[in-house]
C-alpha cells in the first residue's frame, strides 16, 4: 500500500543519506587554508600556463606592438619610438590596465619573445582602481633587439629562455593534412 | 491591601468584564466583537477559579473553567468561520450589514 511504502521509503533513503554524511565526518576536508596555513604558496602549485596577472619582461620586449594590436579591448598601451641616431627602439611607455584586462591570453600569443606573459600571480586586490594600472616603463629604455643564435648576455639569457618556454606552451599550428 | 484575597481577583475580573462589554458594544467589527466575548469569558473564568479556591469546592471550579475554555475554542472556531463567511458574502465585516440577511 502506498501509505506504508512511503513511510518505508522515507526511512530507508534518509538512513542511507545519513550514512553518507556520517562518512564525511572522517573524510579529510578539501579546504586549502589560503593564505597562511598552507605548505606551498598557491602560486607555485598553478600550472605554468596559468593566466593570472599579466607581467612584462622589459628586458626582452622588442617593442613590436604585436600585443597591443592583438588585445581586443585595448588595455595595453605602448609608446615605442625609434631613436633617430642609434636606430634603436626606445620604450617610453608600457602600461597595462589590469582592471580592464580579461586575462584571455591573446596578447601573449603573438609576442615574439614571450616578454608579455601571464604569471600565476593572482593577488592584486587594492583599494583604488588607479593602482591596478601597471606602468612598467619608469624611464625610457631601449628595446631588446633579437640576435641570431642563442642569447649571450648573461642577464638577459635566463629571462629570454623563460619567455621562449612560455611561448612553447602555445600550440604550433600545423596543416591539418 | 498587601494580602491578596478574593476581592482582588474579583476586581480584576470585573474590570476585564467591563472592558469586554465595552468592546462588544462599541465595535462594529465582527472580529472585534468576538474578541470582546473572549474577554468576558476570561473574566468569568477568573471568577470560577477564584471562587473555587476561596470557596473550597475542590476541582469543580477548575473543571468548569476547562470546559469553558473548550467552549471558547469551539465558539471561536465556529464564530470566525461564520464571520469569514459573512465577510465573503457581503464583502464587509460590519455586523449590521448582516441585517440584509433578514431582508
Amino acid at each position: 500500500m502506498g501509505y506504508f511504502q512511503n513511510i518505508k521509503d522515507t526511512i530507508t533513503t534518509i538512513f542511507e543519506g545519513m550514512a553518507i554524511t556520517a562518512s564525511h565526518f572522517v573524510r579529510k576536508p578539501y579546504t586549502v587554508q589560503y593564505p597562511d596555513r598552507i605548505d606551498i604558496r598557491i602560486q607555485d602549485t598553478l600550472p605554468f600556463r596559468y593566466r593570472g596577472l599579466l607581467d612584462v619582461d622589459l628586458e626582452i620586449c622588442t617593442g613590436c606592438l604585436a600585443c597591443e594590436r592583438a588585445c581586443p579591448i585595448d588595455c595595453i598601451v605602448i609608446d615605442a619610438d625609434k631613436n633617430k641616431k642609434t636606430k634603436e627602439m626606445v620604450l617610453k611607455r608600457f602600461d597595462i590596465d589590469l582592471a580592464k584586462c580579461m586575462y584571455c591570453g591573446l596578447c601573449s600569443e603573438p609576442c615574439p619573445t614571450g616578454s608579455i606573459h601571464h604569471t600565476p600571480e593572482f593577488e592584486g586586490a587594492d583599494y583604488s582602481l588607479e593602482s591596478l594600472v601597471r606602468r612598467y616603463v619608469k624611464a625610457p629604455i631601449p628595446a631588446y633587439k633579437p640576435i641570431k643564435g642563442p642569447e649571450t648576455d648573461p642577464e638577459v639569457a635566463p629571462i629570454l629562455s623563460r619567455g621562449l618556454k612560455y611561448l612553447d606552451e602555445f600550440a604550433t599550428p600545423g596543416d591539418s593534412k | 491591601m498587601l494580602d491578596i484575597g478574593l476581592h482582588h481577583f474579583l476586581t480584576v475580573s470585573v474590570l476585564v468584564f467591563i472592558a469586554g462589554l465595552f468592546t462588544v458594544l462599541t465595535r462594529r467589527n465582527a472580529i472585534g466583537v468576538l474578541m470582546g466575548v473572549e474577554l468576558i469569558l476570561n473574566s468569568a473564568n477568573i471568577n470560577y477559579i477564584a471562587f473555587s479556591r476561596f470557596g473550597g469546592s475542590g476541582y469543580d471550579g477548575q473543571i468548569f473553567t476547562i470546559f469553558a475554555i473548550m467552549l471558547a475554542a469551539a465558539e471561536a472556531a465556529i464564530g470566525l468561520a461564520i464571520v469569514l463567511g459573512i465577510y465573503r458574502k457581503f464583502e464587509t465585516i460590519d455586523v449590521e450589514a448582516t441585517d440584509t440577511l433578514r431582508g
Binding site: - | L2, V12, V14, L15, T26, N29, M70, A74, A81
Partner: protein
Amino acid sequence: MVYAALFYLIAGLTVGCALGVALSRNVVYSAFALMGTLLGTAGMYAFLAADFLAVVQILVYVGGILVLTLFAIMLTHQIADVEVSNRSVGRLPAMLIVGVVGVGMFTAMFRAPWKMVEPGEPLPTTYGIGESFLGPYLLPFELASIVLLTALVGAIVLSRKEIRD
C-alpha cells in the same frame, strides 16, 4: 510583599491590555493586546493555584484561539482597515452602560457575604483534574469530544461552503 507586587504587576497587565483591546482602533493591535490579557489571566490562575489551568489557558487561548484570530485578521486585510466611524453604540453611551453595569457589579461584589474558606497550600492540580475526568465528570468529558467534533465539522463545513460557492 513580593507576592503582592507580582500580583499587581500581573493584574495591571491583564486590565491594561483588556483596556487596550477595548480602546484600540486597529484590530491587529487589539488582537495583540488580547494576548496580554490572556497571559495575564493565566497569571491570575497561577496565583489561584490552578497551575494546570494557567498552562492550558496559554496553550489553548494564546496558541490556538489567538493565532486563529490573527490568521483571520491577516486573511482579510480590510478588517484592519475598517474605520469604526459610526458605531453600533457610540462610545459615550457605551461608557454609560458599562459604568452602570460596573458599579452594580462592584456593589454586589463588595456587599455580598462571600462564604470563604482559608485557601490551603497550593497543590498540583493536574492529577486531580484527570481523576475527576475519569470519575465524576466522565460524561461531560466524553461529551466534550463530541462538542469538539461538531465544532470541527461545523467550522470546516462553514468555511468550505462559504469558499466554494
